[in-house]
């Protein structure tokens, strides 16, 4: 399980020593590394195996990084690409990032800098590329441009029809949008479909999780920095605003930003210009901003935690994501959709839900919303033995859930019926981890930083664990 989930990296560099040393360094940091000394052999390796990330030198004997990037992005859009180069050329860096490179590292290489960039790429890339692919495109809506909105919003309930209407309405405009809704209701998917259905869909959609930004890092994440502008600024960094230029910048959990950063954001949004930290040059911006929050920003404003002027800047249009429990029949439509995607992903053939499961799903409160439903179905598809998902495949908190007013059964009795002895130690351990992680995540409304703290593991470990048990 762990080996299969270990992140696979391909290093393409004609300088054999660099390839060797990088490979040693990354292997010892837990990655599964392959190397190639030319563009052609790199592409051959890509043909034969899936890689999460490619580290590619810009200057190769048979081709160059630009061409490699183009090839990789065309044939393996899910694979992240970081270009390494000896030339510090900002124009080229911007061009490569617009072409889809995750980042651009200038030589000389420093091990810590590389590790940092790679770790971030793995996290962000996962958010940027894998999620939407799983959520929408795997089944039938592979066309990324004129994307059929119904691929994103699945459902026939009044709430989801209204949501669809609002997205259609606002997508073609240039309005900033606030997306409100509980955790797991699909805010990022909504933002993405606004982007894909806007005239900006040829330009980048850049997603940023403001919940996980430290105060120190936030400014350079937003605005970028010049190499050497502060201790630890090993390389020039392009900020997210610049990356999203021409396209859409999506800020998730925007309520978590510090007051100072909010001031800087406001200035950037008003002036439509950005300056990298340590630089005097202003760069013109044309970025549409979509923000999401599961907090009450109005309350934040009253308490002085969120700037009112910034709120009004963002709030040219607002969209409310309905919680799953209010979406009636959509629950089973979504459940069937996720069962199909899970079958494909896990190579299983589970085709239906037992009547008890359907009843359970319809009554449950779904505090984690669509994300919770998706995770539960993936888990159930994985552990189900027949081709039907039965109540046994559900976590206890769901199979034991009783509508509050009818809850006369002591919890212990209900547990007796559903809990089967599990003799496989590996499964038992995995399930126990799964349940604990999910429980803690829910308690902290899916704030991964907080969850990691409570679980007493670091954030990276949490991400790895979540991946290992297919939790997203």
């Amino acid at each position: 399980m762990l080996i299969a989930d270990m992140k696979k990296i391909l290093i393409i560099d004609d300088e054999v020593n660099i390839a060797l040393l990088l490979s040693k360094f990354l292997t010892r940091n837990g990655f599964d590394v392959s190397t190639a000394s030319s563009g052609t052999s790199g592409l051959d390796l890509l043909k034969n195996g899936e890689f999460n990330l490619v580290l590619c030198d810009f200057r190769l004997e048979d081709t160059d990084g630009r061409e490699m990037l183009r090839q990789i992005k065309t044939h393996y859009p899910k694979t992240g690409v970081i270009i390494i180069t000896g030339y510090s050329d900002i124009k080229m860096a911007v061009e490569l990032i617009k072409m889809g490179a995750y980042d651009y590292i200038t030589k000389p290489l420093y091990p810590d800098e590389i590790l940092n960039t790679i770790t971030k790429a793995m996290e962000t890339h996962h958010a940027l590329v894998e999620e939407p692919a799983n959520a929408t495109t795997n089944i039938s809506h592979a066309n990324r441009k004129q994307q059929d909105l119904s691929g994103m919003v699945i459902g026939t309930s009044k709430a989801s029809r209204e949501l669809l209407r609002q997205i259609e309405l606002v997508a073609p405009t240039n309005y900033s949008v606030i997306i409100l809704g509980e955790s797991g209701t699909g805010k990022e998917e909504a933002a993405k479909s606004i982007h894909l259905n806007s005239p900006r869909n040829n330009h980048p959609f850049v997603a940023m999780d403001c919940g996980s930004l430290t105060k120190e890092l936030a400014a350079s994440e937003f605005f970028g920095h010049e190499k050497g502008s502060f201790t630890g600024a090993f390389a020039t960094k392009i900020g997210h605003f610049e990356m999203a230029n021409g396209g859409t910048l999506f800020l998730d959990e925007v309520g978590n930003l510090s007051y100072e950063i909010q001031a800087a954001l406001l200035r950037t949004v008003q002036e439509r210009k950005v300056k990298r930290i340590g630089s005097t040059k202003e760069i013109d911006l044309d970025v549409r901003i979509i923000v999401a929050t599961n907090e009450n920003l109005q309350e934040g404003i009253q308490k002085g935690r969120f700037r009112e002027d910034l709120y009004h800047r963002f709030n040219e249009f607002s969209i409310f994501m309905p919680p799953l429990r209010e979406r009636g029949n959509d629950i089973m439509l979504l459940a069937e959709h996720f069962l199909k995607t899970s079958n494909l992903e896990l190579n299983r053939n589970v085709t239906s839900f037992s009547p008890a499961v359907i009843e359970c799903f319809t009554n449950y409160r779904w505090p984690g919303n669509i994300r919770e439903l998706k995770n539960i179905i993936r888990r159930a598809a994985l552990i189900s033995e027949g081709n039907e998902i039965t109540i046994k495949a559900l976590p206890l908190e769901i199979s034991n859930y009783k509508t509050p007013s009818f809850d006369y059964t002591p919890a212990g009795e209900a547990q007796q019926e559903t809990k089967e002895p599990r003799h496989d130690l590996k499964n038992a351990a995995l399930e126990a981890e799964y349940d604990t992680i999910l429980k803690v995540l829910k308690e902290v409304s899916y704030n991964k930083t907080k969850a990691a703290e409570i679980l007493n593991i670091d954030r990276k470990t949490l991400y790895n664990k979540m991946k290992a048990i297919n939790l997203k």
Binding site: N17, K24, P108
Partner: protein, 67 residues
Amino acid sequence: MEPGGKGIDAGTLRTIRHDIKNQLSNINLALGQLKYEMQNASPDQQEYLEMIAASAAKIDTILKTTE
């Protein structure tokens, strides 16, 4: 490039700089590996490693000031 090293053109200079940076990458990465493998290095050994690292950093700085 003429014999005697006079009049190096910008293109050549750029290539030289690039090649030096390549070699600096090697030095940095090899140093990282050495430090990792020499967990029990003596204080002297550690100092030599630091000296190499500092010189590599210095070369990089020199390159930058001529860019």
